[in-house]
């Protein structure tokens, strides 16, 4: 550290700042020191100066005029209201200027800042309501611009015209209501554009013209009424967000101009209609989520969208699925189609990567042997709340990875167990014609099982003869008893029981029972739900 070295050669470190040498140069940290002005005796060899979190309300004239080698200047977290072009005179080498968290109300117009090598400019969290046309005329090399969290009501179109090298910009958290045509015409190098948390209602259909390099566009949390058709010109777009808006329809061929799209986030929109061809030819798209688009009657045509891994299409009006669904989507991992009116299922045979299927709350009647055939990666299958009456004996035979199967609230009188040996969770509640008590031998890994009737849980050792009478009377049966309550019931450690293991053995058995993962079976038998079925 500079302070510790005496002698003429040592570059001056202005008190109370802390300094460090960087070869012949010096890095000065004056942050959080209660300063009200820029230290005067700064060395010309200063390359890094941090004045953040002080009480500086203005830059005194010629404060930086000797700092030709300064590369990074941080004045964030002060009370600056205005910085003129003269204030920053001499900073020919400056690359990073941080002015965020001040009270800047306006930027210089007539004599703008002359910072020819500036790459990053932070103006976020200030009070700017507009950006003068000439404001950026002296920072032509700029690549990264932060204007978020200000009071802008318009896109600063004229000012942006001076920034041919700009690559990343955020105008988020302002009060912008409209994006005019040709708003970003000269920004051919722009890769990232954040406009989230504004009040954007309308956009010119040519407002994104000129953004040839744009890869990320963030329009989330605005008030868009229509689908932003202007994105059609963004041929390099990879990531698009317009969630939390007011868009009601996604038109046909909506993304025809964006073949590079990998992610589209548009949840929290009142989307009712989706064009059948809207999501065609998006070979890099891996997630598509549509919820509540009630006007969707037909499954979308996903021709050319071959990389889709997650497809969520819930609460729509689907009544059937295309027979070639899996040919179009060979890489599908998660298929979530709950809350539709689907009656018949195609074979998902070609969707060999499928891990999760959600078909709950539909109108499915039958499950054929081919429906889920060879889905060897399938881990979770939810068919609850349908009207399934019959399941082919081999329907689950090849589901070697299946651990969760939910058949709650159907019309089943029998369930084929072939292939279900790996289950840890099985739900059959609400199948009132299903009387069979499945032997635990079918399910060696079972942890949570829900049966239509309590007596069907007796095979899992949770019947009344395992519990001392007194504990049974006082304890009100609880439909969702959890794992360790069962453990206590099976290995009573309280007073009045004849079962009396010694403590060490008790610890081992707890460990073993933990390993065996004793089964949580509901509804739990009790005095009013005896183990012996009243129906014989």
């Amino acid at each position: 550290r500079i302070q510790d070295r005496q002698g003429p050669a040592a570059p001056l470190c202005p008190p109370p700042c802390q300094c460090e040498e960087d070869g012949i140069f010096i890095m000065v940290d004056c942050s959080e020191m209660g300063l009200s002005s820029v230290p005067t005796n700064l060395s010309p060899l200063t390359t890094y100066l941090d004045l953040s979190m002080n009480n500086i309300s203005e830059i005194q004239p010629r404060a930086f005029h000797r700092l030709h080698l300064l590369s990074e200047l941080r004045i964030s977290g002060n009370q600056l209201r205005y910085i003129s072009g003269h204030d920053l005179q001499g900073l020919n080498n400056l690359k990073v200027l941080m002015l965020q968290n001040n009270q800047l109300e306006r930027l210089p117009d007539d004599a703008p800042w002359d910072l020819p090598n500036l790459l990053s400019l932070r103006l976020d969290a200030n009070l700017l309501s507009e950006v003068p046309a000439e404001a950026f005329r002296g920072v032509r090399s700029l690549r990264h611009l932060w204007l978020d969290d200000n009071s802008l009501t318009e896109i600063p179109v004229m000012a942006l015209d001076s920034l041919p090298s700009l690559q990343a910009m955020t105008l988020a958290l302002n009060q912008i209501t409209h994006i005019p045509d040709y708003a970003f015409t000269n920004l051919s190098a722009l890769v990232v554009l954040h406009l989230h948390n504004n009040h954007i209602q309308t956009m010119g259909s040519r407002c994104f013209e000129g953004l040839h390099s744009l890869e990320t566009l963030d329009l989330n949390y605005n008030d868009l009424q229509e689908f932003p058709v202007a994105i059609r010109t963004l041929s390099k777009l990879q990531e698009l967000g317009f969630h939390n808006n007011n868009i009601k329809a996604i038109p046909e061929r909506a993304f025809v101009g964006n073949p590079q799209l990998q992610t589209i986030h548009f949840y929290e929109n009142p989307i009712q209609f989706v064009g059948k061809s809207a999501f065609q030819f998006l070979p890099k798209l891996h997630t598509l989520s549509l919820n509540g688009a009630t006007q969707i009657q037909e499954f979308p045509d996903l021709k050319g969208t071959t990389s889709l891994e997650i497809l969520t299409l819930t609460r729509a009006g689907l009544s059937a699925l295309p027979l070639d669904l899996c040919e179009q989507l060979p890489r599908l991992r998660v298929l979530e189609l709950s809350y539709n009116q689907i009656e018949d299922l195609p074979s998902f045979y070609h969707c060999s990567a499928l891990q999760e299927i959600g078909l709950q709350h539909n109108q499915i009647r039958r499950v054929e042997s081919s429906t889920f055939h060879q889905l060897t990666s399938l881990r979770a299958l939810d068919l609850s709340w349908n009207i399934i009456e019959w399941i082919h004996p081999d329907a689950f035979a090849s589901l070697h990875s299946l651990i969760k199967l939910d058949l709650t609230e159907n019309h089943l009188s029998s369930v084929p167990v072939a292939g279900l040996g790996g289950l840890t969770h099985l739900k059959l509640r609400g199948n009132t014609e299903l009387y069979e008590a499945f032997s635990p031998d079918h399910f060696p890994h079972m942890r949570v099982i829900e049966m239509p009737y309590a007596y069907q849980c007796c095979v899992y050792g949770s019947c009344d003869n395992y519990k001392p009478a007194s504990q049974w009377d006082t304890e009100q049966s609880n439909t969702n008893e959890d794992l360790h309550k069962r453990t206590v019931a099976m290995y009573p450690i309280h007073g009045d029981t004849h079962y009396d293991p010694d403590l060490e053995e008790f610890q081992l058995e707890i460990e073993e029972s933990k390993l065996q993962t004793s089964v949580q079976c509901t509804p739990t038998p009790g005095p009013f739900r005896p183990c012996d079925s009243l129906l014989g």
């Binding site: 794992l483 360790h484 453990t487 206590v488 309280h494 007073g495």
Partner: protein, 155 residues
């Protein structure tokens, strides 16, 4: 009916005192049917770190997460989701200090099927544990099920 809960024994040994150091023995309560054994290095997490999936840093070795819950921290997620997220981040177990978040204990006791142990501590046990954390003393923790004495109510 009040769900019977299994108590946890928490043995804390400062790494600098290993292997001979005598462990500090504290107690807590298992939640969510998560009673079981766990062992690892103690790592504190800020309550906000369990709000999103930002992979701020991945721990290599086995670790046990401790989080001091505070009612003043804006609630970004249900506590059982926070517990699950802490386990998903690789923790062998999670210890929640609920001394300053009265609702937390009630909320956490109702959750189910957690894959690994989640323990609540409060009062002196929590104070001692957090005291260690505050001194930034690296420590190893072993969590076990507490064996209640055979005839606890015999009089």
């Amino acid at each position: 009916s009040e769900r019977p809960t299994l108590r946890a024994v928490i043995k804390v040994t400062l790494l600098k005192h290993e292997p001979t150091g005598k462990p500090i023995v504290l107690e807590g309560v298992f939640v969510g049917g998560s009673a079981g054994k766990a062992e690892g290095k103690l790592m504190q997490y800020h309550p906000l770190s369990l709000c999103n999936t930002s992979e701020d840093e991945r721990q290599e070795s086995d670790f046990i997460t401790i989080v001091k819950l505070e009612h003043r921290v804006p609630r970004c997620k249900a506590l059982h989701d926070k517990a699950r997220m802490a386990l998903d981040k690789g923790a062998q177990a999670v210890i929640f200090d609920v001394s300053d978040d009265a609702n937390a204990a009630a909320e956490l006791r109702e959750i189910d099927s957690l894959p690994r142990p989640v323990v609540l501590v409060e009062a002196e046990d929590a104070e001692e544990l957090m005291g260690l954390v505050n001194k930034n003393e690296e420590a190893k923790v072993v969590i076990e099920i507490k064996m209640e004495p055979k005839w606890p109510h015999y009089d």
